[in-house]
């Protein structure tokens, strides 16, 4: 299958990661072949962050990761960075950089490529709605504003693939909704966006597809209503979930713990 122009297809074949002699991820096989927001869910320690890091080339992995049929490992670090943008869980910015300076760092992989970097930076500032305070130091922003700026930094790469590790953790409900909405719109505009998310309701509402990891392996993969079922949540999250109806959608609400 030939991917559409500008769209990336990623195929994972038996991907595994061993950290300090301990297998953290094993036999992960999945095809990410359509644009959309893919939610990576699972209990703590399931291997979600490790899978994202393996896709971004930040940790050595076994098996094969193919991007448009080509092994990702064969790309140079700069080429890979142009194809796969990564939004780390870490939100620290070590120097008092301005918002625009932070976002501009997303253009680093394109240096010397003859692209219009300013236009890409402006697009990212506009898309995340942070242009109004582009000249302020990032240290003066609230947590929600900072999260949007860091997302803008990742969007400025303008890579066909965006990997985001818990982008809504520690955000208030308003900013959680805004951030998930942004990621979904970005995916609907043609990017492959993979996001680690803990909030099951956000996962159900915003993601087109969910991949549930547990103990380093994929245990469920499909549309949200097929993955977020009562038995699945009981087995893998050890919670009993209830499903209140909101509009036409039944949303999973983790209600009580099961077992110790």
């Amino acid at each position: 299958m030939i991917p559409a122009a500008g769209f990336a297809r990623i195929d994972l074949e038996n991907v595994g990661v061993v950290l300090d002699g301990r297998p953290v991820l094993a036999n992960v096989t999945a095809s990410l072949g359509a644009p959309g927001l893919v939610g990576l869910i699972g209990p703590n320690g399931a291997g979600k962050t490790t899978l994202l890091r393996a896709l971004a080339g930040l940790v050595a992995s076994q098996g094969r990761v193919l991007m448009n049929g080509q092994p990702l490992a064969r790309l140079s670090p700069a080429e890979r960075a142009r194809q796969v943008a990564y939004l780390a869980q870490e939100r620290a910015v070590h120097w008092p950089l301005s918002v625009r300076e932070v976002v501009a760092l997303g253009r680093l992989p394109h240096r010397g490529q003859g692209h219009d970097d300013q236009a890409a930076i402006d697009r990212a500032l506009d898309e995340t709605g942070v242009r109004a305070f582009a000249d302020r130091p990032i240290g003066h922003l609230s947590g929600g504003e900072r999260a949007r700026v860091l997302l803008a930094r990742a969007l400025a790469v303008e890579a066909p693939v965006l990997l985001a590790d818990e982008p809504v953790a520690a955000l208030d409900p308003h900013h959680q909704l805004a951030m998930m909405g942004l990621l979904r719109r970005h995916a609907e505009a043609g990017a492959l966006v993979m996001v680690v998310v803990h909030d099951l309701i956000s996962a159900a509402r915003f993601c087109h597809r969910l991949i549930l990891l547990d103990r380093g392996g994929v245990v469920a993969d499909g549309p949200p209503d097929a993955v977020l079922t009562e038995p699945t949540l009981a087995t893998h999250y050890r919670v009993r979930a209830v499903f209140p109806q909101v509009g036409t959608q039944a949303l999973p609400l983790a209600w009580e713990t099961l077992g110790p």
Binding site: G57, P77, Y86, A88, L97, L105, L108
Partner: protein, 330 residues
């Protein structure tokens, strides 16, 4: 024009002016006309000798050493994302000083004028090798800082041992004076000795700006942006070792420049490490040329050592800067 845009031309102009003024300062005060005549005077003209063979080389050396220290300080602060980082923290300065002190202690200065600086370079190289081995094993900023502190302390302990064992007070005072840092009585031979190493170091540090900028967002994000982290760290360590090693080898250990200069310039050019590299090199050069001029203007008592003056100027300035920041933040 923005403030940042005038910093580089401003510092360059100030550096040239400070150098020219400094040519006229000293035991024999010279006017601009005297200096101009001295520069083109016959080889045996006394004023010509003062200007061309005594003052010019020490001013050039002060500028080179200051530039190396300022540039390395800015690069290290970016690499370790730590505002307290400076060349002294890596153990490179102390190890270079140890090498030179061992050569002085063994009477190397009498054997060949190259022996003391050569031994300084060897000391810097050994420290650099230790740090590069750690980088090769994937050491992060914290490990590098701790290793630098350990190397520094080991080198300082061995230097103290050499002073402890020095055979007489004259030998001891020679060691101490050398350690305090100076460009006094240095000639163009010293400039030529340090120039290749210093240039190679500056060249290595030059291209690191983009990678250092990315490190502001943390190691993971920098790597995801295509920065080869191990190579970047190795390059900064190597560049610092070459530039600072060569500086210490010819001028002794001059502190504070690498720490203070990037801090002074950050409010002017912004906090991006890449933006700080060139201004910090120029600022470091300017600070040492001015400090050296101050040293020569004080005509009472023995000539002060350059390291003493940079610390005397630098420390209160730095403290007031930090207090001002703290007030701003409060």
């Amino acid at each position: 024009m923005t403030r940042a845009a005038v910093v580089v031309p401003g510092l360059t102009l100030a550096l040239v002016l400070a150098g020219l003024v400094s040519l006229g300062l000293g035991y024999t005060a010279l006017s601009a006309g005297d200096i101009a005549r001295a520069l083109i005077a016959a080889p045996d003209d006394p004023t010509g000798i003062i200007v061309r063979e005594i003052r010019l080389p020490r001013i050039v050396l002060a500028a080179l050493v200051g530039g190396a220290l300022g540039l390395s300080g800015a690069a290290l602060q970016g690499l370790l994302h730590n505002p307290l980082a400076e060349p002294g923290l890596t153990g490179i300065s102390a190890s270079a000083a140890l090498g030179a002190v061992i050569a002085l202690y063994c009477g190397g200065a009498a054997v060949s004028p190259w022996l003391v600086p050569g031994a300084g370079l060897v000391g810097a190289a050994l420290a650099a090798v230790a740090l590069l081995v750690l980088v090769g094993r994937g050491a992060g900023p914290l490990t590098l800082i701790l290793a630098g502190v350990a190397l520094s302390n080991a080198a300082i302990a061995l230097t103290s041992l050499a002073m402890n064992l020095s055979p007489n007070p004259f030998a001891l005072s020679e060691l101490v004076l050398w350690l305090l840092g100076s460009v006094r009585d240095r000639g163009f031979d010293d400039v030529l000795l340090c120039l290749p190493f210093l240039s190679a170091g500056a060249l290595a540090l030059w291209g690191t700006g983009g990678g250092l900028d990315a490190l502001a967002l943390g190691d993971e994000t920098a790597r995801s942006l295509g920065v080869a982290l191990g190579r970047l760290r190795a390059r900064v360590v190597l560049g610092t070792a070459l530039a600072v090693g060569a500086s210490v080898a010819v001028a002794g250990a001059i502190g504070f420049v690498g720490l203070v200069i990037p801090h002074l310039l950050r409010p002017l050019v912004g906090a991006r490490p890449s933006r700080l590299l060139l201004p910090s090199a120029l600022g470091g050069a300017l600070l040492l040329v001015v400090a050296d001029a101050v040293v020569r203007m004080i005509s009472v008592g023995p000539e002060l050592q350059l390291g003493v003056v940079t610390a005397l100027i630098g420390a209160p300035f730095f403290l007031s800067l930090i207090l001002a920041r703290a007030r701003e933040a409060a």
